[in-house]
């Protein structure tokens, strides 16, 4: 009985969910049923039908086509932002936790200062300097997420550095840089996979908030977040304009979270076999 439970727990729908979204995003890049930006005032507020799967919005734009197009933008922007934050936070956190001392205190101060400001406000400030652009938005999001990654990695490293295998690595003559890359960082993978999926979720939402404020992706490119905020105004006439982008975001986040869990198990040698 226990064996079946173990085998079942190995199966995770995460990769399938994420894979299906990626596939749709790729399709959206080359083909959509309608031009996502074509206005069709004859079919405003059209409910979902066979012709227009997810209905149309207040300008008569086909929601299904917009969601297909938006998938690649949302995934790319959030994914790149999370990856940048992961890279920066992991390196800084590992260095701070490993060396401690003044370096640690300086970095902690910097990260706490970033954390002290609300994420949106910080992003607004950065975008005010750089001007609205996709690259600027990605950078702003990366900076907002870095402190979270930093703190998680740093606390993991603080306990790791007391482990004897780190001392064994020093005794073998390894440089600190090698020890950090070879022994310390791989052992932070478990908390990082969970954290990055959580961050990906908030990245999708932050992107939508920034786009809503007109600071991120230009309005002619539909993103899921922007569609959600557009649809809010016409919720009474066309609830599907909110429901379908919302469902798309939930579907992606659910997939990413499940995928993160199975990724963590898959990367952990102890869970294999």
């Amino acid at each position: 009985m226990s064996q079946t439970t173990i085998r079942l727990s190995h199966f995770s729908p995460g990769p399938i969910l994420v894979g299906s979204v990626l596939l749709l995003a790729l399709i959206g890049l080359v083909w959509t049923p309608f031009d996502p930006n074509a206005l069709d005032f004859a079919h405003r507020y059209a409910p979902p039908s066979l012709q227009s799967l997810f209905g149309t919005d207040h300008l008569g734009r086909d929601l299904f086509s917009r969601i297909l197009i938006g998938a690649s933008v949302s995934i790319a922007v959030s994914g790149v932002a999370v990856c940048c934050a992961l890279a920066a936070g992991t390196v800084l956190g590992a260095v701070a936790g490993f060396y401690m001392g003044w370096l640690d205190r300086g970095l902690m101060l910097l990260m706490d200062a970033i954390l002290a400001m609300p994420g949106i406000l910080l992003a607004l400030g950065i975008m005010a300097v750089t001007g609205p652009s996709v690259a600027g938005m990605i950078g702003a999001m990366a900076i907002t997420f870095t402190p979270t990654v930093f703190r998680v990695v740093r606390s993991a490293v603080l306990s790791l550095r007391e482990k004897e295998f780190i001392e064994a690595s020093r005794a073998l003559g390894n440089r600190n840089g090698f020890t950090i890359l070879y022994h310390v960082v791989p052992n932070c993978v478990a908390p990082l996979t969970v954290l990055s999926t959580a961050l990906f979720g908030s990245a999708v939402l932050t992107e939508s908030a920034l786009s809503f404020l007109g600071l991120g992706v230009p309005p002619e490119i539909p993103t899921w977040g922007a569609m959600l905020s557009d649809g809010r105004n016409i919720f009474a006439q066309a609830p599907w304009a909110v429901i379908f982008p919302g469902l798309a975001i939930s579907y992606l986040l659910l997939g990413v979270n499940l995928f993160g869990d199975s990724l963590r198990d898959w990367l952990d040698p102890r869970a294999a076999e």
Binding site: M1, S2, Q3, I6, K163, E164, F165, E167, A168, S169, R170, A171, L172, G173, N174, H183, P186, N187, V189, P269, R270
Partner: protein
């Protein structure tokens, strides 16, 4: 003091009804299988009963089954546990709660985590008593006082207001004992109560536990992996292996005439001097390691930048030498600085004062390149085989990691060299692709040794390499270490708190206390004629097991009849009554009392 000696025959067993009777007990975990199988035992009122077994023998699961505190998926699959005639296995949770505490009390292994750190001792002690229905603080106070005094807590009134972190491990274990006994149980289960403690403290706690339970007429079930400890404090003994009963009987009978081969193996695995290895140490061509007046101070910076950092002096001027192919053991309790000493020699500590020379080179003055070359000659084996291997690397990668710094070894040779190193520690090549978690503790320690061995070192610092292992595994690892030393001729700096192991392996012994050396000399000198009172205290704390001529075994404690005499005009810098002068402000020095036998003393006041 010695219960086994005091009550040689227990005739009352035939007349009394057993307090706890276990019959055909089976405990199993889904997916793991049976951890306790067909186990039966009878424990009589007021008796001290020992359960001995290695890890995985099911001894803790047995205790937890009795308390109905089995970890979650575990289940009692068969048998009965009769406590005063009621079957605990079928008791409702509410009724079981009444048995716990007032019927059966339990003392756990880890004193650091078994008391709640956010509650005062007083609150934790009264917490248990309240559930028994005694509410008035006034009525309880004298009882609590008396009990704390019984377990030799010096200031019971003050103790109640303190928090657990203010006490040492031994004190906490005594407080726990007091709080459990205050519930007036009929049976006390102590699951490895002293495993986490130093030898001297261990003896103290076991003696108090044994004495108080005897005075109060409480039956004691003492569970341990340590045959010596259990043997000295119990009347009857049971040996368990893999969930099954191996042998049961009077303690003295089992130790004198073990019947089962496993019991014999267990007793024979205990380290003893008779198993020490004699070998030829090559004629001295200068010592390998020379340490002179080593001082290590750990600074802890205060939160406030202007405040002075708190300093802890881990080593206060230590000098020693290790010859080539020699085994030097460093003995001391936790906090004596023995681990720091080993790490300082390997330059794993950044700031030291004094000189450390390995093979003639000053370890702390070397350039990075020369240090790398020297590092190959000195390697370390750690205590905890679970944290000394990177859980995410394969055994092959772990063993061959050091080869990166050996010139003229190509990557293609790594695997071969790793295979050779594993073969030397008796592990086959199939382990190369495994992960550390797939290995047992003993196998992991073999991997640690292979990792050191692949560098072809001249010195191996072994920091408690066998203290985390089961006794039979420990014997095998010691055997392996001995063979490797004979084959390769390296020197060991063997750091240990276990005097039994030290007696078996050491050529010379260094006894450390509070960051300094109190006595050092040849092994036989230290064990047969210890001069320093601290050394004697340490030696008296460990049970001494010897094989007699007729293939039986004898556990005794060492006794030293003559009072220790300091050399002329000197007094010892340490006394057992707690008058620790801590090196007497630097006035203490090592005096040679016999050939190569040094004792730490300071100039005597009376003589001057």
């Amino acid at each position: 003091m010695n219960r086994a000696a005091m009550q040689k025959t227990n005739l009352r067993h035939q007349s009394d009804k057993p307090l706890l009777q276990i019959a055909d007990l089976g405990v199993s975990f889904p997916g793991v299988g049976e951890v306790v199988r067909d186990l039966g035992l009878a424990l009589y009122p007021g008796e001290a009963f020992g359960i001995v077994g290695e890890s995985g023998s099911g001894k803790s699961m047995l205790a937890r089954a009795v308390m109905q505190l089995l970890p979650k998926p575990g289940k009692i699959t068969s048998g009965r546990i009769l406590f005063k005639g009621t079957d605990l296995a079928n008791l409702k949770p509410g009724d079981m709660r009444r048995v716990r505490g007032s019927g059966i009390g339990m003392v756990f292994q880890e004193p650091m985590t078994s008391l709640n750190p956010s509650m005062t001792i007083g609150a934790q002690i009264t917490e248990g008593l309240r559930t028994q229905g005694e509410c008035s603080r006034q009525a309880l106070a004298p009882r609590i006082h008396a009990m704390l005094e019984r377990v030799r807590i010096a200031d019971p009134e003050g103790c109640l207001k303190k928090y657990p972190h203010e006490f040492s491990g031994g004190m906490r274990q005594r407080i726990l004992l007091a709080s459990v006994l205050l519930m007036q149980p009929d049976l006390l289960i102590a699951d490895e109560p002293t495993t986490a403690l130093d030898a001297v403290i261990q003896k103290e706690v076991l003696e108090i536990m044994s004495e108080v339970t005897r005075d109060l007429g409480v039956a004691l079930m003492l569970i341990s992996h340590d045959l010596g400890a259990v043997g000295a404090y119990t009347e009857r003994l049971m040996v368990m292996r893999k969930g099954e009963l191996v042998e049961e009987g009077a303690t003295s009978d089992i130790l004198l005439r073990p019947q089962h081969p496993y019991t014999v193996a267990l007793i024979e695995a205990l380290p003893s001097r008779e198993k020490s290895w004699r070998r030829d140490i090559p004629a001295a061509s200068g010592p390998l390691v020379e340490v002179e007046n080593l001082r290590v101070v750990f600074e802890r910076k205060s939160f406030l930048p202007w405040a002075k950092p708190t300093c802890t002096e881990a080593l206060k001027g230590v000098s020693l030498t290790v010859g080539r192919s020699e085994t030097v053991a460093v003995v001391g309790e936790s906090g004596s600085g023995k681990t720091t000493l080993g790490r300082a020699i390997l330059r794993l500590i950044d700031h030291v004062e004094g000189d450390i020379r390995v093979a003639g080179e000053d370890v702390y003055a070397l350039s990075a390149e020369r240090l790398l070359a020297l590092r190959r000659q000195m390697q370390i084996v750690f205590q905890d085989p679970y944290s000394s291997l990177d859980p995410r690397r394969r055994i092959g990668e772990i063993v061959s990691e050091g080869l990166r710094h050996v010139p003229d070894v190509t990557r293609a040779e790594y695997r071969d060299r790793a295979r050779q190193a594993l073969a030397e520690v008796d592990l086959s090549a199939e382990y190369l692709g495994r992960f550390p978690h797939q290995l047992s503790g003993g196998q992991r320690q073999r991997v640690c040794i292979a990792r050191a061995l692949i560098m072809k070192p001249k010195l191996i610092v072994a920091d408690e390499p066998v203290s985390a292992l089961d006794i039979t595994v420990q014997a095998k690892i010691l055997e392996l270490m001995k063979r490797l030393q004979v084959d390769h001729g390296f020197a060991y700096l063997f750091i240990s708190h276990d005097l039994g192991v030290v007696e078996q392996i050491a050529d010379r012994v260094i006894v450390m206390q509070a960051g300094r050396i109190v006595e050092h000399g040849a092994r036989d000198m230290i064990f047969d004629q210890p001069r320093h009172p601290y050394t004697r205290l340490l030696l008296k704390a460990v049970p001494d097991l010897h094989r007699s001529a007729d293939a039986s075994y004898r556990i005794g404690t060492r006794a030293y009849s003559q009072p220790t005499a300091a050399p002329d005009g000197m007094v010892f810098d340490w006394a057992e009554d707690g008058n620790d002068s801590g090196g007497a402000g630097g006035a203490a020095r090592l005096i040679e009392v016999a050939d190569g036998h040094f004792v730490s003393c300071r100039p005597g006041l009376a003589a001057s």
